[in-house]
């Protein structure tokens, strides 16, 4: 995670961002601290990336790249505003001994924000931020099969706003974000989906972090909560309202490092 020292809405690269909306940095910091504490309490270890002035979205570490064991595939951002983040991300992973494998070519891919492992494959979003052309390369680099899903709802511009893996059989899904082919791909992939309605999808319910059997969510409608509890999960809701102003929530603020792609169970 990256502390929100320099967070703010300084530009508009998604439909949630409005530069005239002010971010309360103190509130943002306390919301971020709350998420950190909650994740730690449920058993996670947090490692930190130093914030950098002028890179307000560096807090959204989910987009830093794709992690696979000790392998790190850096993101290639679509917007110039975020492209300067990459050198800081790469330096962090290099300093910790990760093998850095770059995607070939110039096509964009926005890291774990657009690529989530499920049941031995990597579900990857494309069109709004990532190019589908990177998917074959990502598969070749990581050795894992990729399922491509077109993201068609501009407000759900990253895959992690539409999909949250819970375990090998279950995931929170937001079909609003996908075209009909994407819906069929996910339908075939996920035996027991928890389907969000459009309002819950747009409240970023899917942008949640799972640590063990605890789910950290930006919001949780009662029907969703009941189903998750019925499946044996504990739900913790975090107010991340300041970050929603930039179009991000719990999951966007984290990058899982304990990922072994292609491994199930």
């Amino acid at each position: 995670m990256c502390p929100p020292e320099h967070f703010g809405v300084l530009y508009e690269i998604n439909s949630w961002m409005h530069t005239e909306v002010r971010v309360d940095l103190d509130l943002a910091r306390s919301q971020w601290d709350g998420l950190c504490a909650g994740l730690t309490a449920s058993g996670a270890t947090i490692e930190l990336l130093d914030p950098v002035e002028g890179l307000p979205d560096l807090v959204f570490t989910a987009n830093a790249g794709v992690v696979n064991g000790t392998q790190y595939v850096p993101a290639r951002f679509r917007h110039p505003e975020r492209q300067r983040e990459v050198s800081h991300d790469v330096a962090w992973f290099e300093a910790r001994g990760y093998t850095v494998d770059e995607l070939p070519g110039v096509a964009s891919h926005e890291g774990a924000g657009d690529a989530l492992p499920f049941a031995g494959v990597l579900l990857s979003g494309y069109r709004s931020r990532s190019d589908v052309a990177t998917h074959a390369a990502l598969s070749a680099i990581t050795g894992v099969a990729v399922r491509s899903v077109e993201l068609v709802e501009p407000r759900l511009y990253h895959l992690d706003l539409t999909f949250c893996p819970l375990d090998d059989r279950r995931a929170i899904i937001a079909p609003l974000g996908w075209d009909r082919y994407g819906c069929r791909v996910v339908e075939a992939l996920v035996p027991e989906p928890l389907v969000l309605d459009d309002d819950d999808a747009l409240a970023f319910c899917a942008n949640s972090v799972v640590v063990g059997s605890t789910i950290h969510m930006p919001s949780c409608p009662s029907a969703v909560g009941r189903q998750l509890e019925a499946w044996g999960f504990d739900v913790v809701v975090h107010d991340v309202g300041e970050f929603l102003k930039a179009g991000g929530a719990c999951r966007c603020l984290t990058l899982a490092l304990d990922v072994e792609l292609g491994v199930t169970g």
Binding site: V121, Y126, V132, A133, H135, A136, A145, S148, D179, Y181
Partner: protein, 406 residues
């Protein structure tokens, strides 16, 4: 003019339904695709690869479709321009010249595909100074002509049977010795009507057996009533057609009684000799020497004909081209606009004509001998549909369908 391009897509395109989506996107845009190749990964992690040939209504529609396809990962397969070399001798193509087929062909020039205007097999491809692509037979090449060499930058559209029900779908085999002939005749007649409605010309290629079997009056009527627009034949057909009208015999046999006429074996020679005296078939018609038959109708209706010569020819008639290269050029000159070719009981002229025809010309080869149809196909005229039957009966039936039921 429709525009087409091959795109390639790689990845987990089957499981991700990307291939299905690409196909749907192409069809939804009003374009069409043909799968060039699909290489499906053997394991879950292997990627698959597909190539699709995409055909849109025009270059603009194709360009915007390609942008959309690219968003789903399908990229245009990089193509190179065709290589051109100037001919340095009259009538000689540069070594390594691209040898043409009769199939629809396009040449890539300056990054764009240019359709070949006149597909013909066994020719060279010449790019004209205004950027058009034309097939040119070897002997017609001139010094300085820019000729395509090698196989790069050439796209040939393979022959495909049209999908769905066509009037001729029941003819699934290429030769029809075991098909009901009445239905075939009615279907050919329907095709001719259809083509005439669309303004396409009908070419008849006739062998002497058309006259021997008594079918010449039916052909003459079809010419008179506008069902035949171009005629190709040899000295024999024309001579016997005239003989049967002037003398009442074909190769000395009475076309009415079927019996040999006294001294009849020389009848065609006497007729040829007289036409030579007049100087041309048209002059003999003008003078009233020929007053009926296929050649008479061609002259009076202004239907153009080419009579190609051979070593066996008696006479020959003054209209016959004794030089085969000139004859072939004369035939080529009459081909633009031809949509249907009827090859009637003629082996050599049918094959000669087949060599000059683009594969898009609907070709019916009517012969009592199945081998003629096979020969035609073996020499590259794969579009030819064979109808194995007596040409006299077939032509009579066709004439009745067209000229009586009209």
């Amino acid at each position: 003019m429709s525009a087409s391009e091959v795109v390639e897509v790689e990845g987990h395109i089957i499981d991700s339904l990307i291939l299905a989506k690409l196909m749907d996107v192409i069809l939804a845009s009003g374009a069409d695709y043909e799968v060039v190749s699909v290489d499906i990964g053997r394991t879950n992690t292997d990627v698959s690869m597909a190539r699709l040939q995409v055909t849109a209504a025009d270059e603009d529609a194709l360009a915007s479709l390609l942008v959309e396809l690219q968003a789903h990962g399908a990229n245009r397969v990089m193509s190179v321009d065709a290589e051109l070399l100037a001919a340095d001798r009259e009538g000689v193509l540069p070594a390594g010249f691209y040898s043409t087929t009769n199939l629809p062909t396009a040449v890539r020039l300056g990054g764009r595909w240019v359709e070949v205007g006149n597909p013909e097999m066994d020719c060279g491809l010449v790019i004209t100074p205004d950027g058009r692509a034309r097939t040119v037979p070897m002997h017609r090449v001139r010094v300085g002509d820019m000729v395509v060499v090698g196989n790069d930058g050439i796209r040939v559209t393979p022959p495909s049977r049209p999908r769905g029900a066509t009037p001729f779908e029941f003819m699934s085999s290429e030769v029809s010795s075991e098909k009901p002939k009445g239905l075939l005749v009615a279907d050919v007649a329907a095709r001719l009507r259809l083509h005439r409605t669309s303004g396409a010309k009908v070419l008849a290629v006739c062998g002497p057996a058309v006259v021997h079997t008594g079918a010449a009056p039916a052909i003459a009527r079809m010419v008179r009533e506008g069902w035949i627009d171009v005629l190709f034949a040899g000295n024999g057909f024309a001579a016997h057609d005239i003989e049967s009208n002037v003398m009442g015999t074909s190769l000395g046999v009475s076309v009415r009684a079927g019996t040999a006429a006294e001294g009849g074996h020389a009848n065609h020679l006497r007729v040829i000799n007289e036409v030579r005296r007049y100087g041309s078939i048209a002059a003999a018609v003008e003078a009233g020497y020929i007053d009926g038959g296929v050649m008479y109708e061609c002259v009076t209706k202004g239907v153009p004909f080419v009579l190609a010569g051979s070593i066996r020819d008696d006479g020959p008639l003054p209209d016959v081209y004794p030089d085969v290269v000139e004859a072939a050029d004369a035939m080529r000159h009459l081909l633009p606009g031809v949509g249907v070719a009827l090859m009637l009981a003629s082996t050599l002229h049918a094959i000669a004509t087949g060599n000059c025809l683009p594969s898009g010309v609907e070709t019916y080869c009517v012969d009592i001998n199945q081998a003629v149809v096979t020969k035609l196909a073996d020499r590259g005229s794969h579009q030819a549909l064979g109808i194995v039957t007596d040409v006299g009966l077939f032509v009579e039936g066709l004439c009745q369908e067209l000229c009586v039921k009209q």
